[in-house]
Each structure stands twice: as C-alpha cells, then as structure tokens.
Amino acid sequence: MPYLVDRKPLTLSERLYLPQILAGMRITMRHFFAPNVTMEYPEQRPAIPANYRGVPTLVKDPHGREKCVSCQLCEFVCPPKAIRITPGAVPADQPDRAHVEKAPKEFEIDMLRCIYCGLCQEVCPEEAIFLQNQYSLSGYTRAEMVNNKERLYELGGTLPDQHLKWDKKKAAAEVRGKAAH
C-alpha cells in the first residue's frame, strides 16, 4: 500500500553544502592514514587459523612413511561419498612397513564432491588424514579436481607426531623373537 514520506526540510549546514563535503572528505582522509583492511590476494594470503578445515590431505609419519592403512572408515563416513580407496597389502619385502600389512593402493578424493566437513579426519584411527590450510582449489577439468594418492601426500606433508603405534608393535615382536631364540 503506498504511503507518503514526509521530506524533512534541509538544515542550514546542509543548505550551505560545503560543510557536508568537508565532513565527507575528513572520513576519506582518515582512511588514507588508517591501516589496510584488505589484502592483495592472491599475492598476499591471509593467516589461516589453527584447526581450519581446508582441503583434506594424507600425511606421513616423521620417518616419511605412509600412515594410512586403508581401513576405509573415511570412505564409509564421508557424507557426499567423495572418497574412494582401493585397498592393498604391503609387500613383505619392505622391512620398515611390512608389519603394518595393509596400505592403500589408490586413494582418491573428489574435491568437486567434498564438503569440507572434517568427518574423515575425525574418524581416522591412524591419524592419517587431515584437513589442512589449503583452501583455494581450481582446475580446468573434472578429472583435475580428483586428488589421487600421490597428490594427497604432496599436499599433506609430514605430521610431527610421535605415536608410532606400529613401530612399538614391531619392537615388541622383535623382543619376543629374541627371547624365543
């Protein structure tokens, strides 16, 4: 329903025009000297807070070994079904890995499906998958947006934790082996 808006009469300073211009200039001039609130993206990047949920990545242990054992819990829990794992066995001829027995043959995360919810990180029993600070991802094809295992480790890097659960197991096995002989 239309209704009338009363237009208030201008005050004296408004009618004089210049005081208002000067007041506006003052605000503009103040920002000349105030610190910047924007940044030159992409040359400058914002500092990412800890626990930021960026692109999911696979991490290696401090000895540069694969942590993922392809238990496929992340694949199971992933709400948009972005994760696809092909499990495989660790060959017996890798002395520092053979005792883990299982590792992913292929690990794919479709970043066109990923919703950055972080459930994969939460569910991982081996602390092998982390949503890190990478937030900008682009590609020319759909295939490019699927991160394979190699790319995931490249993005993930190394996690400096010292759990080394499987090493403890291996050490116990060796102690037992010596005791037996």
Binding site: V69, S70, Q72, G88, E101, K169, A172
Partner: protein, 608 residues
C-alpha cells in the same frame, strides 16, 4: 531348521521369566534364541560339537525346588509360586540341554560380570588391529565387546606378540595374535571335513593354532574355517585386504558347481564381486560350502569372457546376431549346401536339420524356453553330461547344477549318457585342484552330424568339442553359440551371442534332492549383453513358436500352466530354503550322484 516335533517331544524351560517350549535336546543358547534372547558365545557353533571353552555363554540356572523326601513342590510363601533353587555358580549355556522346568537367567549382575570378565580376558592379548582386520564389521569379538564388554581397559602390560601371517594352506592365512582359541576350526576339520590337520600347541597365552607337522590345511573345505572363525584370525588369502565387509551387498545365490546346490551369499560392491560365502540351509548344506565353489566368481571378469555378439567371427550388434541366428535356425540361409538335399530327412528325428544342445547349467526358466525353441523347430534337444567324483560331502558326482530342472520342464526325458571325454577343470576354478570331470552325452548328435542329418547346432553355453565332438564334425555344421566364455565351440561358431553368468541373472535350479531353489542377480551383466531369457524368448518367437514372456514373473505363470510339477508354485512364493518337488516321475532314472550331506540316492535309500 528344526522340524515340527510332536508335543510330547517338547520340554518347557523358563528363560528370563518367560516360559518357552522347545524340542528335547535343544541347548540353552538355541532355546534362548527361539524367544529372541541372545546368549553371547564364541566357541559354540550349531553344526559342530560343543567344546565349552570360551565361557562367554555363562548364565544362571536353577531348578524348581521340591521337598527331597516327599517330592512335593516347595512353594515360596512370598510369591505363591514354586521356589527355584538357583545354582550358586553360573553354568555354560552351550553345554546344557533344556530339561523340563529348567530356569535360566541371562540378565543378572552375576551374568553381566561373567561376560565382562571373559571379554576382558579375551582382549588382553588381542591386538588393536581392527583398522586392518578383514573381520571388522562381522567380528563376534567386536560385537560382544561392544555389547557385553566393560568399555575400558585396565591392561597396562605389553601385549603378547605372535606371528601375523602364517600360511596354513593355499587359501587360508592365519593371524595368530587375533586367535581367541575357540577351537571351532579344529572341530570343523575333524568333524565335518574329516581332515584333522589343525591343533593348538604351547600353553596359556602362548597357545598357537598350527597345522600338524608336514601337513597343510588344503582340503576343499578349508575356507569354511575362515567363515566360522569368530575373529579375524583365519582369513581368506583371496579376500584378504580386498574390501571392508560393510560395503558389500549380499545377494542369495546357489552354488552352480554341482547338483548339490549349496546355498550361497554372493557379496558385491558396485557391480564387482568380491566373495562367495555359504548361506545356512539345514536341509542342504548346513552352513558349509566348497572352496572350489567360492572361486567361481572369478569367471565373471575372466579374460576370455564374451562381451559382444559376433556373426561369422565379426563383431556385430545384438539384433543382427539374433537375426542371423534365427535365419540359420529356420533355414532361410543354408549353411553349406542347398536345402533340397535335406528334404529326404523329413522322417528323421531332426526334420529341419537343427539340433539343440541344452545345458544342465541353465536355469529352469532357460531350459523351459529351450524346450519351447526345440518344439518350435522340431529339433531334438540333448544335454551335455558332466560326471566327476563326488566327495560324499558337499560336492556331488553330477557337476551340472540343473539336470533335474531339464527333466522337470521336459526338455529331456532321460539322462544324458555319461561321456568319457575327460576335460580339465577350468582355469577360473581358483587353484583348487578339482577332480577331473568326464564330459559327454552327445554321441547321438555326433552320429547325426556324420550322417549329414544335422546342419545347424544350437548350443547353450556348452563347448561341443569338450563334450566329445571332433573339429571335423564341428566344421560340418553351422553353430549358434550362446555362451559366456570363449572356447573351441565359440571359435567355430557362425553366430555367437553372449549370455550372463549365474551371478548376473535371477532364476532357479533343481538340485539332486529335487529341491527347487532360487538365486538372484548379484551384479549387472557386461554392457551390451542382453538378458538370457529375453534372447531365448526372441529366438522362440523368430523360430515361429508361440511368443513367451521374457520376465521371470510372467514366465513363471507359463511354467505353472505347462509344467505339472510346478503347477502350484510361483517364483515369488518359493521359500528361501527351496521347495522339494515330487520326484516320483523320475525315480527310475539312473542318477549318477552318490551319497552326500543330507542326501541319499534313491537306490541306496531304498536298501538301507
């Protein structure tokens, strides 16, 4: 399944305050299961002897109190009911049979304490392997620890370390750390497989499952030990680390390896088969199946699978191949010589010069359509026989799963002659050293080809060369081959139409007991391969027969109308455990099967 007993054979027991009538001899675990009360157990298995060594099924038991002198019931003044004398210590449910008036309590603090204690003790040396353990998701220890465990660990010492990948045999890998010493595998090997190779050595927490020195767990039933292992100690070398079980879709199937007809569960994920495990059917296979039957899923993705139709060896479309096949069948194209020369054969068994080789590996529905085709063409149908040696357990002598289906629908009226062309088992049998199978039954066809009476042979997945025909005989005729895999016959065939394996279609088989059992499609067939029923129905129509429906539901209406043995059956109403058909019309036939589990051949059954 327990058959319905006479009321006199029932005893009434009271479980958690509820009276239940169970057959005499039922043990407490099974009795509780009848009323939906779960008594957790590891070592007890319904088809094995009771060992009673896991102690997980401890329950409180009591008997109604009677006066020792007068035998008169003692009434509890507070409740007005007969008093129950509870035993001071818990008893194992698996080792106790139901007796009249027996009272069981499964939810008291004492029972709860027992379960927590047993679970804690089993978890002391159990490794935290669940992320890499193939049993995770179907592991009794996982389930019972969650349901009945304490929920936290008081154990601070080092866990025991044992060998992680011992190969007990060609198909079974043992992870000793996970073993909870339930001895199910030992009892299975001893009692069912009759190959007593497994046993425990060492003592206490160093106890280790192992094979007898110099022996291996390599019998054709070794993978059943993997199925019954309540934890992930025994794993299938083939399935190891392939897929987590919670992703697998389970489809009921029937083992097509022999006429035994073991019930199976076919597990697949997104159209890929991963494993075949037995499905319990107490009338047929109990809870067991053969290793060789489990390896059959590999044929689905075999290299020599036929995936596209071919006419004269050139890849073609399904429609063109069907038309070419129909032309050959009705004689529009004369393969080698003018049709006129065969005109004098009008009185012969194959007036059109067409012979049909049906298959004991086809489903009942396909055999019904084959019969329709045979009738439309007036072409005689024969079956290829496959006779091996039965192992008296779960592998019968007749290696065709459905010869009786062909009898029931009337495709044949006598058994195919046993052949003597020994064929080696297919390479897809997964390394199980199967006994040689004698293939044959086509002597009549061979004679007809030699006599020039047959010009066209229609083979439903049967390799004619393996069944005793020579290359020269094959060269004399035009062959239409409907099959799944390449072989000498498909190479010689004029028209090749690809078909589906048993895992890619639904249907029914009639096993050696004349039990009709249905199987369902587990995975879709390869792209471009039409449904077998549709292919056959189109051929029947093209051959001038009465059009028949090509979908299971309507086809079963036709089956019920035309096949007396199936008059009252529909595909939907077939029970999951199968339906026994009346076998009397075929009682006189000399079936080749010997005695197996839950089956005695008619001749032996009569004498014993």
């Amino acid at each position: 399944m327990i058959s319905v007993p006479k009321p006199a054979d029932l005893v009434t027991v009271n479980i958690d305050g509820r009276d239940v009538a169970v057959p005499k001899g039922t043990n407490v675990i099974e009795a509780a299961k009848l009323i939906g009360v779960e008594i957790p157990h590891y070592c007890y298995h319904p088809k094995l002897s009771v060992a009673g060594n896991c102690r997980m099924c401890l329950v409180e038991m009591g008997m109604p109190a009677v006066d020792p002198a007068t035998k008169a019931p003692i009434i509890d003044a507070a409740t007005g009911k007969q008093k129950v004398n509870w035993m001071p210590r818990p008893q194992i449910g698996c080792g106790t049979n139901a007796s009249p008036g027996l009272h069981i309590r499964t939810n008291t603090p004492l029972v709860k304490d027992c379960r927590e204690g047993v679970t804690e003790m089993l978890l002391i040396n159990h490794p935290l392997d669940c992320p890499i353990c193939d049993q995770a998701g179907e592991c009794m220890l996982q389930e019972h620890s969650t349901a009945y465990g304490r929920g936290y660990s008081r154990f601070v010492e080092q866990k025991n370390v044992k060998p992680k990948r011992t190969e007990l045999g060609p198909r079974v890998t043992l992870d000793d750390e996970r073993c909870i010493l339930c001895s199910r595998c030992i009892r299975f090997s001893r009692e069912i497989a009759k190959d007593d190779v497994l046993g425990f050595i060492d003592r206490g927490s160093y106890s280790t499952l192992t094979c007898y020195p110099g022996r291996k767990l390599e019998n054709n039933y070794s993978l059943n030990t993997v199925d019954i292992c309540p934890v992930g100690a025994l794993t299938s070398t083939d399935f190891r680390f392939k897929m987590r079980v919670w992703f697998l879709k389970e489809t009921p199937g029937i083992d097509p390896e022999s006429s035994f007809g073991a019930n199976t569960t076919v597990s697949s994920r997104e159209g890929v088969l991963y494993r075949i495990t037995p499905r319990r059917n107490d009338e047929v296979n109990d809870t067991w199946m053969t290793d060789s039957g489990r390896a059959l899923y590999q044929q689905v993705r075999a290299d020599n699978r036929i995936t596209s139709p071919a006419v004269n060896g050139v890849a073609s479309t399904h429609e063109m191949a069907l038309r070419a096949a129909a032309d050959l069948l009705v004689g529009r194209v004369v393969p080698d010589e003018p049709r006129g020369k065969t005109a004098h054969l009008a009185n012969s068994p194959c007036p059109n010069g067409v012979a049909i080789v049906g298959s004991g590996r086809s489903s009942v529905e396909e055999q019904f359509l084959t019969k329709k085709l045979s009738a439309a063409l007036q072409a005689p149908a024969s079956l290829v026989s496959r006779v091996g040696e039965g192992d008296k357990l779960l592998l019968s002598a007749d290696r065709n799963p459905n010869v009786r289906g062909a009898l029931v629908v009337g495709l044949i009226n006598k058994l195919p002659d046993a052949g003597d062309a020994a064929t080696s088992p297919r390479s897809s049998d997964g390394g199980v050293a199967a006994a040689p199978v004698k293939t044959g039954g086509l002597e009549g066809l061979a004679a007809d080809i030699d006599a020039g009476k047959v010009k066209t042979v229609f083979s439903l997945g049967e390799d004619l060369m393996a069944a005793g025909l020579t290359a020269a005989q094959l060269a004399k005729v035009a062959i239409i081959y409907l099959g799944t895999h390449q072989n000498a016959t498909s190479a010689a065939a004029k028209v090749v139409i690809p078909t589906l394996t048993v895992f890619e279609k639904s249907g029914t088989f009639v096993n050696q007991q004349f039990r009709i059992q249905k199987f369902a499609q587990a995975v879709p067939g390869p792209a471009g391969v039409a449904d077998d029923l549709a292919t056959l129905a189109q051929l029947v129509a093209a051959a001038g027969g009465v059009p028949v429906p090509a979908d299971l539901g309507s086809l079963w209406t036709a089956l019920a109308a035309e096949v007396p043995a199936l008059a009252t059956v529909t595909h939907a109403s077939l029970p999951a455990t199968g339906l026994l058909l009346d076998a009397t019309p075929w009682a006189a036939l000399p079936f080749v099967e010997g005695e197996t589990l839950h089956f005695k051949p008619a001749a032996t059954a009569a004498t014993t």
